[in-house]
Symmetry: C2
Subunit: 140 residues, 2 copies
């Protein structure tokens, strides 16, 4: 079974280190660009500026051998299993981010397609794994 | 950069093939068990029966080279990019499932820890990648 991820693109963000990034998009995270590998541009059909989307990322600075942590890094709070938290430190550091698509630019001659989104707490260079319809109702 | 997933466990479900499975958990999906590799049991600390959790799975029967599809397999509907759908056919077939934890059983002497959850449309044998706090507010 193939369990190797293929990044579909990368985050371009003014956030450049994990310590400076908000812990959640809702905590004041900035706009960011998603640069999509041109080969995946056909998979964007139907997404539109103004719409909502769920981004799935690979939090590449996450520590994969951490099983318990203090929520929000606050040592006054009791240890919890990482599966009961949203910590980026976990066996498979997959990030989920519900965003608004502010702008879409098509790819040109091998250059990436670009999506401007808000808010996004993932740092610059974070691999993007997937984009999904955010509709909770059946859509595909 | 390591982009290889480590399954933390597997789905045990009465659903055994993709064609028979509901497209969404909310469409009549059954209960299922999550069998968790014993090494990850410490990461469950803080999860409780009765709580909600977000499961992340690897939809191992998804076709990774599909970029566009007819939503819900309905050829009367216009083609959409897979990133505008919830189709399991996509470059990285990651599944998201919001469930209620009905029961938790600790691991015993190398046997898996088990979580009984509902509803889950993923089929028997689906690798589980992650469990996250479903709280949209900051929690870890």
């Amino acid at each position: 079974m193939d369990l190797t991820l293929k990044p579909i693109g990368h985050v371009r963000s003014p956030l450049t280190n994990r310590e400076a990034a908000p812990k959640q998009g809702s905590e004041g995270a900035p706009e960011a660009w998603i640069e999509l590998d041109p080969m995946y541009a056909p998979a964007l059909l139907g997404l539109e500026a103004g719409g909502r989307a769920l981004l799935i990322t690979w939090l590449h600075q996450g520590e994969r051998d951490v099983l318990q942590c203090h929520p929000r890094g606050d040592k006054n709070r009791p240890l919890r299993g990482v599966f009961a938290t949203r910590s980026p430190d976990r066996p498979n550091p997959i990030g989920l981010h519900e965003v608004t698509i502010l702008e879409m630019r098509p790819s040109e001659a091998g250059a990436p397609a670009r999506l401007r989104v808000h808010p996004l707490e993932a740092i610059d260079g974070t691999p993007v794994l997937d984009i999904k319809n955010v509709d909770r109702q059946p859509a595909g």
